[in-house]
Symmetry: C2
């Protein structure tokens, strides 16, 4: 059998005309039923054929007692039956003409020798037929171009440009959901499970070549072929960012990874140096992964690593400068000319340097009441100059914090102070609107830092306009430093 | 003048019988009015005397045209007038018998030479009268034992046992608010401002000696007397934890700190080694500060650094093990005996090691529907054994995640899936209740790790029962490692 191009080979997996699913029943809390529900809720554009020996209807859909009675061709088979029945289901599906499968069922190599035998048998059947499959022991896949979401936990993400392969189904799906809440959309997703057939390397190669994929994300415990991963990513990162969360980086983690996926996390060439050479953006935990994803999805790539900091409070400015220092960014002194320019707009007691600290008196609670124009004026002067490449500005969410505080207060005080915070909202709105104008006008990354841990009401609108709010200056600096590094990497590789 | 003991000296600051405030007016968005509103809303138990030349009522309170017309003694003076008038107000207050003052007004040494002159004059007046004061250029103070909250941004925290001195007013107050949302209460707070009279060292000495203070928190950019800080904390940390966020740790941050508070961040002996010798728990950013505060407020101190990990997903187990490895915690192998004991309760395919991975099939979506008893059973066996000192368990907030996902869904799908998540809620509730039982029964720290960034509905109840949910395994491991370190420090210093 000649090897097909991976893009052609995986077309039935990601762009099927119809899907058959085996293992759904009337008991809604079971894996098969949840997976079917996820396909239905996702509004898959092609045919949906539940195969169930008992017949009848499930979730309002007609079921088929066997593959022979299907009303048409089915490209993709989704399997949720117990492990011992999977081989037979695969054979039946192959007879009916499937081109690819997703095996969600568990109880294979991950549970020991007996399971490994069952898994080998499934691999043999699929290989003989030239059918590629995902799993077993996985949570499912997504393909937003055809609205296909067979996910056993139903955690459908927003559609978008990021494709994601995850060696952990839970971490993968939950992170997609969190990212979706930040406006990040996903093109394709694969929970790769035991990788009995399709490996993370295969899927990364597909995503690298897939024209619908703009950014590639991965959660990796261990690779079977580190050299192949290196070659794929070195080539692909010139065209699209590769973000990778590598688990098993310590002795304790590597031991756990070996137990989880049988992978030898430390035994392949995927150390930090190799990843850097290949242009891969490494995250060391889930928070970093999400922040990189947000940054590379929403921000323009900065031309360099010189950061301008704007703050209405000195303490936050110091923490932001510390964060930049830790992450290898520069917080340059400002030129005489720029300082003189700033003097025209700022109160006399501003810091006369970078961080640009207008002090609390220059912002809310100033003697003329609340106003944030000194923040946006100084931010504009920084962005306009050729002295900085990106900016960190203290975010403004006083009204959200007040709301949060008031939630613990007695009713009469709530009413009294509620009207007060209402007065601040339009001023905050004006500030945020002005940020969006500045972002569009100058095309340099603007990130906001907050202290408040929950997402303010305004964060979503800001993020949709390409401005990210970080709960912690360290995260803002982390994201900017990785972007500056990638910008530099691109310059070097394309020379 | 003989030097009084600091506890006696600061009694009028933290336990005044009455407070007079100068600078409040009918314009509610001004600093003085917000500070007065904060005192009123906080329901201060003593007399509240606004002094305003124009007379009339402010916020329903009778005002006094001068200090001579006050109805009784006033121990504390709160000053919010422009810098040029502060010296006169202090003199008037001293004539009226005040024992301490909080000067919120800005425009002093932080704005240059002219301001420094005004500040020196205020110091001279106060010193001559033996009156101690906080500020100027600060955001105010709190003292929950007398319900006193003169804060210019009104961000009153919950009452409790933590006392906090912050060299940044904004960071201090916002962090108190975030901590309050996690059930952490504050005893006293001082935004120390320019520290023209009372310094962070003075306030830390007071908190060290104050019997109402159980835990001491500080945000420090620079200390005037590092040696004194070292002596105070070395003595106090034997009795109560000292948590410190030290800003200005990099060249960039130190330069910013110098500009902010004029402090020479690097010039005193407050490096990491000295802090460790003094038993101080150092945080390097706001997130770490909050996590340490939560951990030391809510968790028992573990006897050692051996961590048991329980998870329904291998990926999260690997990340948790990695996090422990990074933070210097141990993830010990389990004894044969304990593994055999586990076999009695767990599905055959569990990981047979630490992390205890019961796999997704052992938890939600298992063939028998959703149930988390395998998680709590294995957690109990770990806690009962003498092989581990503390536990990290994957938290369960599926219903919250579903709710979050559904918020983007069309109405009909919301209704369909909403009833589904409702079915899971009682199972999650049972899981959480069982955790609380285990916490009480075994007295070892239990922390949960989540992936979801927002606080689940159940987190508050769990935290009130001494179980913390971390959004990131790295944070869970960070907090546990610091607790284990402090436990060890206490053993060594009390031998």
């Amino acid at each position: 059998m000649t090897k097909k191009d991976i893009v052609t080979e995986l077309k039935p997996l990601f762009y099927p005309r119809a899907v058959s699913i085996v293992g759904a029943s009337k008991s809604l809390l079971k894996i098969g039923s949840m997976t079917l529900m996820s396909i239905v809720v996702g509004q898959f554009e092609g045919g949906i054929y539940p195969v169930n020996r008992k017949g009848g209807k499930i979730l309002g859909l007609k079921t088929y007692t066997d593959f022979k009675s299907l009303p048409g061709d089915t490209d993709l088979l989704v399997v949720c039956v117990p492990a011992s029945s999977v081989a037979q289901v695969m054979e039946d599906g192959i007879d009916a003409g499937i081109g690819a499968a997703v095996i969600i069922s568990s109880g294979f190599s991950e549970v020991g020798k007996e399971g490994k035998k069952l898994e080998d048998e499934v691999v043999r059947i699929a290989n003989n037929a030239g059918v590629r499959f995902v799993g077993p022991n996985c949570m499912g896949i997504c393909s937003s171009p055809v609205k296909l979401y067979p996910l056993m936990n139903m955690m459908m993400p927003r559609p978008g440009g990021t494709s994601f392969v995850s060696q952990s189904g839970t971490l993968g799906t939950v992170n997609m959901l969190v990212a979706s809440n930040h406006g990040i959309g996903f093109n394709k997703f694969v929970s790769s499970g035991n990788e009995a057939d399709l490996t993370a390397e295969d899927l990364l190669e597909y995503f690298a070549k897939d024209e619908d994929t703009e950014l590639v994300l991965s959660f990796i415990e261990g690779l079977r072929d580190g050299r192949r991963f290196f070659e794929i990513s070195k080539e692909a990162t010139k065209r699209k960012p590769f973000i990778m969360l590598k688990a098993g980086a310590t002795e304790e983690g590597a031991r756990a990874a070996n137990s989880h996926t049988g992978s030898l996390a430390g035994s392949y060439l995927i150390n930090s140096i190799a990843l850097k050479q290949a242009g891969v953006l490494k995250a060391s935990n889930g928070t970093e992964m999400l922040e990189l994803l947000k940054a590379f999805s929403l921000l323009p790539i900065p031309k360099g690593k010189r950061v301008g900091i704007v703050t209405p409070g000195g303490g936050a400015g110091v923490l932001a400068a510390d964060a930049c220092g830790k992450m290898g960014l520069e917080v340059p002194m400002l030129s005489e000319g720029l300082i003189e320019e700033m003097n025209k707009y700022l109160p006399s007691f501003w810091s006369h340097g970078n961080p640009v600290d207008i002090t609390a008196s220059g912002g809310i609670g100033g003697s003329d009441g609340a106003d944030f124009s000194a923040l946006t004026d100084s931010l504009e002067l920084l962005l306009k100059s050729d002295e900085i490449d990106c900016a960190i500005c203290m975010g403004v969410s006083f009204s959200d914090m007040m709301d949060s505080m008031l939630s613990n207060f007695p009713e009469n005080l709530k009413n009294m102070l509620g009207s007060f915070t209402k007065a601040i909202e339009p001023i905050e709105k004006k500030f945020n609107d002005q940020l969006i104008v500045l972002k569009k006008k100058y095309g340099k990354p603007i990130v906001l830092m907050g202290i408040h841990e929950s997402i303010p009401k305004s964060a979503m609108e800001l993020e949709e306009n390409g401005i990210i709010l970080y709960s912690e200056p360290d995260l803002a600096a982390f994201a900017l430093s990785k972007m500056a590094w990638y910008g530099d990497y691109l310059k070097q590789t394309t020379v």
